[in-house]
Amino acid sequence: MTFLAQASGSIVDQWVSSFWIALLIKAVAVLGFFLVAPLAVGYMEHKVLAHMQSRFGPMEAGNFHGWAQLVADGVKFVQKEDVIPEAADPTVFSLAPAVALIPYIVLFVTIPFSKTVFAENLDIGVFFLLAMSSVSVIGVLMAGWSSANKFSLIGALRAAAQLIAYELPLVLATAAVVMQAGTMRLVGITEAQGHYWFVATQPIGFLIFMIAALAELTRPPFDMPVADSEIIFGAYTEYTGLKFAFFLLSEYGGIVALSAIASVLYLGGYRALPGLPIPEPLMMLGKITVLSFIVIWLRATYPRLREDQLQRFSWLVLIPLTLVQIMVVAILKVAMR
């Protein structure tokens, strides 16, 4: 496994010799990807949900099947009045959307789209991803508390409860993948899946990871923190205009991020199926699209759970299962050394 330790550099470093210019290109590229991919997933959500409910969805903006609907929404959001309730704490209230959004942008630094197409192949790879993906809950808590609204507070507390429920299955399932790959670098984990994808050896881990990821994203069936029929819109109740748009953007960014992480950990990342001459970055995008589609599909399929049901399910089913899985992987790995 020594080849994993010396992973190749980023493609930007191969083209550009200056450190600062490379830094600038990487930052712009990551930001650019983050601004396009969540919009694509948002558009896919509009269309997929619409067709699953036997309707068309947006058809006007941009002429062709309403492709520009979310761009138009963005322009609209900028022009909306920014209402900050009198009772709210204005500083925390305004900072909250940024705290929710920025971690999801930073997370894409280390997602590999091929052996060389990535911004940085961080040595602690997956650990960094898991850390970043849980920061944005703090933004939601800030939003809920600073709004000085009972519904916001309930929503924020539910979001925190969700963190407690999903975080451990997510982390423990990832640890099992790190054990099998023998590295935490994402390129290394992808390369370790040369013969077979890890979903083949850890199908239960993949399932647990996807369930926990859904809960992290507060997507249906785990959307109790924003349950609109009970608590208006949870922590986002008081938000208008751009700040609300940023919360939405962070949700879609989160779908892209978690789909990307899942495809690196379990579906061979950028590796193509044998005999399929598809370029590696396209392969990665394809896997992200398929997983995002499943996330949207579940929204159209399942009713909402209760928060206590998620807690019980997580502590009595998911966490014991992941602990068993870690021990099974450890024993098999050492036995087949």
């Binding site: 009045e81 650990f127 000085a148």
Partner: protein
């Protein structure tokens, strides 16, 4: 070591770029969006009814025992990652040690379940 700082410089640069995105968007919003505050517009939204009491009310966190358990297990997961990276080299001894460690934690979870505290109180 310079490699180490260079790779995290990228993380910092992207974080700055994200902050710049937010700053630019908020500035644009401030320039374009209308600003007509009305007393009724600035009240707390409770579905159109006048708000009762204050928003910063006392509330019971119903899952605090889960919270305690979560902290314990989350610290465990921090120990788990360095071990996961090297345990194959260390062989059976490392597997048994982690087995005992996880076993103790699992026993704790089992105890909490038996005591019937894993409830939305």
């Amino acid at each position: 070591m310079p490699d180490y700082f260079q790779s995290y410089a990228v993380v910092l640069a992207v974080a700055v770029a994200g902050a710049a995105l937010v700053a630019v968007a908020f500035t644009a919003g401030r320039l374009i969006a209308p600003k007509r505050p009305l007393p009724s517009k600035l009240t707390t939204y409770e579905c159109g009814i006048d708000p009762v009491g204050k928003g910063w009310a006392q509330s019971q966190v119903r899952y605090y025992i889960y919270g305690f358990l979560f902290v314990i297990f989350d610290v465990e997961s921090v120990f788990l990652f360095p071990w996961a990276r090297v345990f194959v080299k260390l062989g059976w001894a490392a597997v048994w040690e982690m087995g005992i460690f996880i076993g103790i934690l699992a026993a704790g979870l089992l105890y909490a379940w038996k005591k019937d505290v894993l409830k939305w109180a």
